[in-house]
């Protein structure tokens, strides 16, 4: 078995054949089946398989992109369940982006945040308020709702608003540590939600518990975005941008500073790292992803109300991060995808199936145990199982491995060139 795996690992052509075959087969089965969750999931998991291959990053991105942009939507569009797959895929994308944001805060910078959904809410409300007539209640100028064309601008506004609040939240962080921080962030999340739930008085800004209905759909070149299959592409584009950003930050000066703060604050300071600034940046960057996705969520849902932003939601996002592997970008992506798909599709389908069985008298369960009520129960068991089975996360974080040859070509010796001179100067000397 081991042997077998290692041969595959060494042989790129073999890998290419396997993954190619896999994609073709799952593609075809999704394409041909009318409605097959299994085929859909299998095709999606080709991405996981891809992750384990030894192709270069560029190749992986190309194949992955092709699957996501072309194959998956196309295959799914042939079946009846097209929109529901796309709905799930869209939500998966939204959650992945949020989980990646939280991963910066929790996984990289080591700051436990239990109120993360607040930023999502901020994004959603930012768009929701201006893309409905709600804003007329308090804005002295302008005509609301703004048209769906403004959506594209709001993605950035949502990002900025969330980042701003990320910094605001960060301010108490200057002093509070560890689990105390967890509770401060939790409090922040609750405060935001309660305020949104009550800001219908004295001035009606959020419409309180009634929520904002009929949010304008995004519009581009005169086309309204209404269906999940359309939102899928919006989310995909944002998500890819987010992944690129996260990846770059992770292995940069900023990412290292985050990790240093996580590992040892005192030593990090001794290395010249500004603790406050570094933490605030983590909060702001993490929050901004959520803010963007909040805008998308509001537009997709066409309805925003405070019940979508509860503590349980924050905890769920945290679960995605931890389950996937804290600090590990591929892990977090997998974790978020898994939890979302599990919750929205697999469990629903599973309980529906059990339900059919019991309605048809194949199995007989008392009403108290009715399968329709068992989703949480099953979810709980799955969580425990995963945690016990992969305590480091599904795909634990890996440190970057550097290439010794690249590091070695020292031309000058240490004493004369590098240590004395600023790194930038050195850059000029080099080429």
């Amino acid at each position: 078995m081991k042997n077998w795996l290692s041969t595959i690992q060494q042989n790129k052509r073999l890998q290419a054949i396997i993954i190619g075959l896999y994609i073709v087969v799952t593609f075809l089965s999704l394409y041909l089946a009318q409605k097959s969750v299994v085929a859909f999931l299998l095709l999606l998991s080709s991405l996981l398989l891809l992750y384990f291959t030894t192709f270069s990053n560029r190749v992986k991105w190309l194949i992955g992109g092709f699957v996501l942009v072309v194959l998956l939507p196309f295959a799914a569009s042939q079946g009846e369940a097209y929109q529901s797959y796309m709905e799930v895929a869209t939500l998966v994308g939204i959650y992945i982006a949020m989980a990646l944001g939280l991963n910066i805060v929790v996984g990289l910078a080591g700051l436990l945040d239990l109120g993360f959904v607040a930023f999502f809410a901020l994004g959603a409300y930012t768009y929701g308020i201006f893309a409905t007539s709600q804003a007329n209640n308090f804005m002295p100028f302008g005509q609301y709702p703004l048209s769906g064309e403004s959506f594209w601008v709001f993605i950035f506004i949502g990002c900025l608003v969330a980042a701003l609040f990320g910094v605001l939240l960060g301010i108490p962080v200057l002093r509070v540590k560890g689990d105390y921080l967890a509770i401060v962030t939790l409090g922040f999340g609750e405060i935001i939600r309660i305020i949104f739930n009550n800001l219908d008085k004295p001035v009606n800004i959020t419409n309180g518990a009634m929520g904002l209905a009929s949010v304008q759909p995004p519009r581009l070149f005169g086309i309204d975005f209404m269906y999940p299959s359309q939102f899928y592409y919006i989310v995909l584009v944002i998500l890819i941008a987010v992944i690129f950003a996260v990846r770059r930050l992770e292995f940069s000066k900023i990412g290292r500073a985050w990790k240093a703060v996580r590992e040892n604050e005192i030593a990090a300071q001794a290395m010249g790292i500004h603790l406050v600034r570094t933490k605030l940046m983590a909060f702001a960057v993490g929050a901004s992803f959520s803010g963007m996705m909040g805008v998308v969520f509001a537009a997709k849902q066409t309805f925003v109300d405070p019940t979508s932003f509860t503590l349980l939601e924050s905890i769920t996002i945290l679960v995605m991060v931890i389950l996937g592997g804290m600090g590990s970008v591929p892990g977090v992506i997998l974790g978020a995808a898994l939890v979302t798909i599990l919750n929205l599709q697999v469990l629903t389908e599973l309980t529906n199936w059990l339900n059919q069985l019991s309605l048809n008298g194949v199995i007989n369960v008392p009403d108290a145990l009715s399968p329709a009520k068992m989703q949480r129960f099953i979810f709980g068991i799955i969580l425990i199982f995963f945690a016990l089975y992969r305590p480091q996360g599904l795909l634990p974080a890996k440190n970057p491995a550097f290439d010794e040859d690249e590091l070695k070509n020292t031309e000058g010796n240490l004493v004369n060139t590098s240590v004395q001179k600023e790194a930038t100067q050195h850059v000029h000397l080099d080429r």
Binding site: S36, E80, S84, N352
Partner: protein
């Protein structure tokens, strides 16, 4: 029988062939089956289930096999919308009975509209449910802007309440109803001493009740559900607040009495649901229900039953209009909206152009003793 069931398992579990079930028509319910308000959510599902099973034979004759697919919206709009997508995607589903919570119904119905799936709501009272003018959305219960003022009228005119303290649970339903009540009461000249919110899921409402105590109103109105309502009533009585307490359809559950116990006395409630057991048909229904599920009916059981009835009526009409062939969803939706004078066990149903039921009534009950159902005091109809 059993073999048909086998086939269905395949399609719904995401297996391969779905074509073999082309004579299958599914109706979904979407209500909370887990979480805080599952009692009501389940009662709707069970009522609907009963209606569907009764109609099975009838549709068998037309050549179709009826099937129920219950979804759990968990009282969560996000979940509701995601389920709605699944429902939309399942081409065999021709209608939805649901939801319990207006906050879930509103966003979910946007999806139903996209797929032209008719929805008949047994319980959603918020005005926005039908006010958005969606073609697929219907309800057989009354609206909050009818229920609230009706309650207010009763409170002010019959109970002589001049100073009223309003408490609400800060949900879409609770706030909406409380606002409607407030508006009605103010128009009738009552003074509103306070308009305060509580948090769903909490158990200690003494804080707000201390305000009530200090303000000395002659009626307390509560907009919210029975779980909080029951405790609120109990704690109010414990505190020595003896004035009448009034609430809306959210209180209409046997559990309210269980929770509040004797304290429930002198509580009034408006409900969209009439006393099912007042009529023969209703009593029969209650019996069947009890026999089948081993439970007493809840306020919305009969409404679940009737919603399904209306939906199936529309479906049947659509099938017939289509020459006994499978109609499109659009056709079904149109036929559902067209249903006139359908006589259910709880209410008669005719939809207006918005999808509201012309015959919807508000019933006013009083708990004179710790017993459910309560005593019917008054009946208000729309016209």
């Amino acid at each position: 029988g059993c073999s048909g069931g086998q086939k269905q398992q395949n399609t719904s579990s995401g297996g391969s062939g779905g074509n073999s079930g082309s004579n299958v028509i599914k109706i979904a319910t979407q209500t909370p089956l887990s979480g805080g308000s599952a009692t009501l959510g389940e009662s709707i599902k069970l009522g609907a289930q009963l209606a569907l099973e009764e109609q099975k034979a009838n549709f068998e004759k037309l050549g179709f096999k009826l099937e129920l697919v219950p979804y759990d919206d968990q009282g969560d709009p996000k979940k509701g919308v995601a389920n709605a997508q699944l429902i939309g995607a399942d081409k065999q589903i021709y209608g939805v009975v649901g939801h319990l919570n207006s906050g879930v119904a509103i966003p979910s119905s946007e999806i139903y509209e996209k797929y032209s799936i008719p929805m008949v709501s047994p319980a959603n009272t918020a005005t926005d449910v039908t006010d958005r003018g969606l073609k697929t959305v219907n309800r057989i219960c009354a609206r909050d802007d009818f229920q609230g003022p009706a309650g207010a009228k009763f409170a002010v005119e019959k109970l002589g309440a001049k100073k009223i303290f309003i408490i609400q649970d800060k949900t879409a339903y609770g706030t909406g109803l409380a606002e409607a009540f407030k508006k009605g009461a103010e128009e009738l000249g009552a003074q509103i001493l306070g308009f305060e919110g509580i948090t769903v899921g909490e158990k200690d409402f003494n804080g707000v009740l201390n305000q009530v105590l200090a303000k000395k109103p002659d009626l307390v109105y509560f907009g919210g559900l029975y779980t909080e309502g029951g405790l609120l009533i109990k704690q109010a009585r414990d505190k020595g607040i003896t004035v009448p307490i009034m609430g809306g359809d959210g209180l209409d559950s046997s559990t309210l009495v269980q929770i509040a116990g004797d304290a429930v006395k002198n509580t009034y409630m408006t409900s969209t649901a009439g006393l099912a057991t007042a009529t023969d048909a209703g009593r029969q229904f209650a019996e069947k229900y009890k026999q089948k599920f081993g439970k007493d009916i809840e306020s919305y059981s009969a409404y679940g039953y009737d919603s399904m009835g209306v939906l199936l009526k529309g479906l049947e009409n659509a099938i017939k209009a289509n020459g006994n062939k499978l109609p499109t969803r659009q056709q079904v939706a149109e036929e559902v909206r067209k249903v006139q004078d359908y006589q259910g066990v709880a209410t008669k149903v005719s939809f207006d152009e918005k999808g509201d039921n012309k015959y919807a009534k508000i019933y006013i009950y009083k708990f004179e003793e710790a017993k459910y159902p309560a005593k019917l005091e008054d009946e208000v109809s729309k016209q």
